[in-house]
Symmetry: C2
Subunit: 371 residues, 2 copies
């Protein structure tokens, strides 16, 4: 069991602390994505230095390589990747559908071929929970089907109902342990009545936290927010709420305003590897020639090494010269920017000035320039 203590609220938004067996997580929280047992281009020390309390691991990648049983034998994912703090793992289902070859879904689970070597694997709710147990995940996610977008109401209902059956099987398979938790995932595409039905079904089963899935897959921010407006009121107030795979800083701010407590997204790390910098003044591409002689720091408000030690010109040079230090420094910066945003959101909620903070933050962003 894990518990979520709400310390302050501001509108629908909440500032809280998630207590887990691997440590506390201040919420709203952003979880850097450590796909294959590493937050790409960062040491665990660097991830900690940004203020991140929790990271995410991907069951799909880890089950294929190096293998869940191997990680268990090596002492679990925490020891493997030098992250003693909380780790949330996804169920593997999303990546099976987006990465695996020859995938075949049936009522019991999904069979697929590894994108690495073509070997055949089978993932069921029970096996997904077992893998996450082997990884020693602090927070385990139920196996679900991420309903594709767009979907008709009938398609969305059928898919959601499958996910609800799998949610119950996941709950049954999960071994309750003190300090560990299991989250259900609300599906239902863009349909408010399906989202509500899914939320009720999950509450009926009973979880330690509730995720909103099936978003950030092309529906657009307005629709994401509309689905949150139709979903969050149906979720328990005392449990943490996790919006999966979201998103840009603007997405996160809007979702926090709608009562979401946890996020994960590859944007800060992926952008860091492709020279895109997230800053208090907006998003910039450091390959742009106008930065070649710019002695100013990337973001004077940021305390990361890229900003305190180096210039735009140096970062520009590193990317032009294809030096690994470019992705290393910019990933660190972007993750720092995200963690600073979460800290500022928490403070704003505590000070009951979230809407003003949100407006001022958005107003500081210049329109993104073309790459």
């Amino acid at each position: 069991m894990i518990s979520h203590r709400i310390i302050a609220t501001d509108g629908a938004a909440r500032f809280g602390v998630l207590h887990t067996g691997h440590g506390d997580v201040a919420t709203p929280a952003f979880m850097p994505v450590g796909t294959a047992g590493t937050v790409k281009a960062m040491t665990a020390d660097a991830v900690r230095a940004t203020g991140a309390d929790i990271v995410l691991g991907n069951t799909y990648h880890l089950m294929l390589r190096p293998g869940a049983e191997r990680i268990a034998q090596l002492g679990g994912l925490h020891r493997f990747m030098d992250w003693p703090g909380p780790i949330l793992t996804d169920s593997g289902g999303f990546q099976v559908m987006s990465l695996a070859k020859l995938r075949k879904l049936d009522a019991d689970g999904v069979t697929f071929q590894s994108h690495l070597d073509g070997a055949t694997y089978r993932l069921t709710p029970e096996r997904s929970i077992e893998i996450q147990h082997l990884l020693d995940a602090t927070i385990t996610m139920v196996l679900d089907e991420c309903t594709s977008f767009p979907a008709t109401s009938d398609e969305a209902r059928t898919s959601m109902q499958l996910s609800m059956r799998w949610a119950r099987r996941s709950r049954d398979a999960f071994q309750k342990r003190d300090g560990y938790g299991l989250f259900g995932i609300v599906q239902g595409s863009i349909y408010p009545e399906l989202r509500a039905e899914s939320a009720r079904a999950l509450i009926d089963i009973g979880f330690d936290g509730y995720a909103v899935g099936g978003l950030a897959i092309g529906e657009g921010q307005a629709t994401t927010f509309a689905v949150l407006d139709a979903t969050v009121p149906h979720l328990p107030t005392d449990a943490p709420r996790y919006l999966m795979g979201v998103g840009t800083p603007g997405d996160i701010i809007g979702a926090v305003q709608r009562g979401i407590d946890m996020f994960d997204c590859v944007i800060p790390t992926r952008a860091g590897r492709t020279a895109r910098a997230y800053t208090s003044r907006g998003v910039f591409n450091l390959r742009n020639a106008r930065f070649a002689d710019d002695a100013a720091p990337l973001d004077p408000r940021c305390a990361c090494p890229a900003c305190t030690r180096h210039s735009h010109a140096y970062l520009h040079h590193l990317f032009k010269a294809e030096e690994m230090l470019g992705p290393m420094l910019l990933t660190w910066h972007n993750v720092q920017y995200y963690q600073d945003l979460m800290r500022d959101l928490r403070t704003a909620i505590m000070d009951h000035r979230l809407d003003a903070f949100a407006s001022a933050t958005r107003a500081g962003w210049m329109p993104e320039e073309p790459p």
Copy 2:
């Protein structure tokens, strides 16, 4: 001017401190190579954490990109790469000969095309010194011709004599400043009388330090050591001696025993990017499948993050998964191993037990396995 204070000797070997305007360097010293303004895959903080006092920058790479004048305008290489400590830059000559296209050597200098974009550049002794001044190099190297191996005695003499004329022009062009130094480079291939003649010519001109060039280019360790035996006795005892581009741990130990004080080499960083680990037990390739389940640290005697936080199995996984953290951690480790070796060599010299230390260290290395 810079000065080298000898604190202890053991046979031909010396333990000393090189005083520079950017800080002190304990010798024998290994300089990690920061080719393009970055020690590849390491932050400057990580390089400092290994105990390195000084790094090397490559004039050829930096003059092409981002350009010496640009770096000067941005405050010099120290500020650019966040390395306030001493920096030694090479003259650019070696890389012109190994990397540039359509290079043409004449008595006055060398004209070449950039390997990056084909643009034509000209490097003379005066321009090389000017570039290194623009970079704000703590230690500047004269422009020389690295005599290729093998070379006949006549070829080696002609080449060495050209280098000696360029050494005088480099000395004339160099602006003496307190805390900065200029090193000459002994050439003469494998011929003892040419090496002695070259050393005398350089001493006649007068330098702050003396490098031995034209080695580690295929002649083999026994020949390298024979050339050192024939060269070092002709060098002043009070000036630092720098063996350029060397080498393996075994090369370094043997050269320290022969009185060399400074080294640079890409081996630890390049090996780190290709999964080759230098350890107290020898050289290992971490891609080898036998490491997949190995929970032991890479080198229990090493204090770097790769060794204190992770297992062979994790490092193996990172390289198999082509995660950037693999090269990051292993580069850090290899540079740490080299710096630890230099520290141990200094201690052994001070304790007058260098030969015993050298034998014991070599005895600890297992034969290298095939990749």
